[in-house]
């Protein structure tokens, strides 16, 4: 980093999926042209950016040599390597303390537990015996998770009903570290997005409620339809975690709302799917605030600029419809803000999202769903 002029240092983004694509767009607005480390030339952000290096994430050290500040849109990186880069004087944002907690869900749970944050019961799974032990204490179903995230479109969470199902998942995922957690009766899944600047200045976005289907985020509404005290507790919890990890940039804190209160489900140290609606629904999108934070620039306002907003993800079904071919129908849905990522269709791939604003979350959701149905060539819900 050139002293005193972080905004003029070259910003490198590791990863070139849709999160990087939207972050790139936010950077352009500020006159900044990030350099991207993409895995493939047809990665979502690589299609549109002018300064793209193609390489495996393991080549991050060479990439870092050409950048003043480094940030990340995915978790498929060797944390030890990043720690060595940081020790060598590279500016890694968020820092590797946050990265380790965000990238490794076992480490994450241990840190959160040690610092007194509420989390579901969990255990590392090193083999079938561990599953058996865990289930004998917490009963079926249990939740199995990969400790390290897969790519943005891949599944990483399974709810299993019995030992046979558990073994099938462990078998499929046998190259990966896994954890088990107790299946919690969830009233609601909330995500709090918090953005934090070096030195600790933070801004917190309105709490969102997400609906996951089969482990994949499908719909998001803001504000989350929960009691004001619950929303405030969620924001306070997120803020304490961000401070504890000394995070920089956007930290997404995924929470379970249960009969016993809030539990921390997962952390992501980057712009998050639940925050796509901040593009239209707040004065400063999560992407722009992430850029501002990692370059140590003043953060922008995060308050809601409308009563309610909703996002519906455009997820490819098995028929692999190209949503671009249905733009005519989708853009005819008045008030739908359509975002397409330029990705090739394929089952389960997130191809885009639709955000709508409204006077309440249900009204916004209805508009977004209509446009999403149109994009996928389905009849409206």
């Amino acid at each position: 980093v050139e002293p005193g002029l972080p905004a003029l240092a070259r910003l490198g983004i590791v990863g070139a999926g849709q999160i990087a694509r939207m972050t790139y767009q936010a950077a352009l607005k500020l006159g900044i042209t990030p350099r991207l480390l993409a895995e493939r030339i047809d990665d979502s952000a690589a299609l549109v950016a002018s300064d793209v290096v193609i390489g495996h994430p393991d080549s991050v050290a060479g990439f870092a040599d050409t950048c003043g500040v480094l940030t990340f849109e995915h978790e498929r990186l060797d944390v030890g390597l990043l720690e060595r880069l940081e020790e060598g004087g590279r500016v890694i944002r968020p820092g590797t303390r946050t990265i380790r907690a965000a990238f490794d869900k076992i480490h994450q749970r241990r840190i959160l537990t040690n610092r007194g944050f509420p989390v579901p019961a969990f255990a590392e799974i090193t083999g079938p015996d561990d599953v058996f032990d865990f289930a004998s204490v917490f009963d079926w179903p249990i939740v199995l998770k990969r400790a390290r995230a897969a790519d943005q479109d891949a599944k990483g969470v399974w709810i299993v009903e019995n030992q046979a199902e558990a073994l099938r998942v462990l078998n499929e995922q046998n190259r990966h570290r896994m954890l088990a957690e107790s299946f919690v009766a969830i009233a609601s899944e909330l995500v709090v997005l918090i953005v934090r600047r070096p030195g600790g200045h933070v801004r917190v976005y309105p709490v969102t409620q997400v609906t996951n289907v089969d482990g994949v985020c499908r719909e998001i509404v803001a504000p989350a339809p929960v009691a004001p005290a619950t929303a405030e507790a969620a924001r306070t919890l997120a803020r304490r975690i961000a401070d504890e990890l000394d995070s920089v940039g956007v930290l997404a804190v995924e929470l379970f709302l249960t009969a016993e209160g809030l539990l921390v489900n997962e952390l992501a140290a980057r712009p998050h799917n639940a925050g796509h609606l901040t593009i239209e629904a707040t004065p400063t999108s999560q992407f722009e605030n992430h850029i501002r934070a990692v370059l140590d620039l003043p953060l922008g306002p995060t308050w809601p600029s409308c009563p309610a907003a909703a996002t519906v993800n455009v997820i490819s079904g098995i028929e692999s419809t190209d949503p671009s071919a249905n733009l005519t129908e989708a853009l005819a849905v008045e008030g739908a803000h359509i975002h397409l990522y330029g990705k090739r269709a394929g089952p389960g791939r997130k191809l885009g999202h639709v955000t709508a604003l409204g006077s309440d979350p249900d009204e916004a959701l209805a508009v977004a769903r209509r446009a999403e149905s149109a994009l996928l060539g389905r009849r409206p819900w």
Copy 2:
């Protein structure tokens, strides 16, 4: 154009200044990656786009061969050449009828006069005698204009007080066709942005008021502080002109409000500086609606999403301050939406703009001015 799938045809944009840069960003949102014809590799949009052809505007025919739909961000093109391309089956949007009216101000005035639209008195100037004749009828000062636009940062309008000043301008501009017009006492300069789809569906943006200093647009507010009947008359006038020209895409209609009513000053057949505030202040920016229109996709809403908005252009002074170096100070201005174009500073160059929203135009303007001052390292107004 592939039949029935205009959104899947490759969109070519001729020009790579800031208008193209913001249009490019709007296209990305819709999953579209336009190809740009840039004159220089460091043109504002060429810096950030992935698919850029470097060439003189006269090479547009070869460029058009590689695109399904062609649109334009500047007026420095040979209209005859575009007419031949259109006759040869190329999809040129707006069509060359609109382009000829927009690019050639003498032709523009004649068409508008012939169709009964109110314009200031004018005459083509082919030499000093024409100026003398014109001034003997309309009195000094008179306005001299280049018939064809210069680049986005260059001056094309002069108010001259006497024959000597007029001759100096004619001498400087002697390679260019010129027109003279009567100097009109202007209460207000208004711009109406209208977007029109092939077939005639239109949407009209809220009327803006612009403040020009020395022939260069400096500030814009919306809604224009004029009587509702005046705003409605301005919108109706713009709509009639768009229909008359059968325009496609954004048409910017610049109007003078005088004691005798509205006069049409100029037309631009592209997104316009006065419409930059539509990014934050309306549901669909002028850039996205331009993309939608030229690809024959449904237009998005253009109503105001806040009570008032203002834009202040960031124009380089002689000291050529780099606004990126002042981002820390500028982003600290709460509520300022900062857009930088990545251009090298140089006297009179538009390097960016700041938009702010507010409960009235003055409130918004005050915020935008503070951030603009910060970007240029000046003390606030």
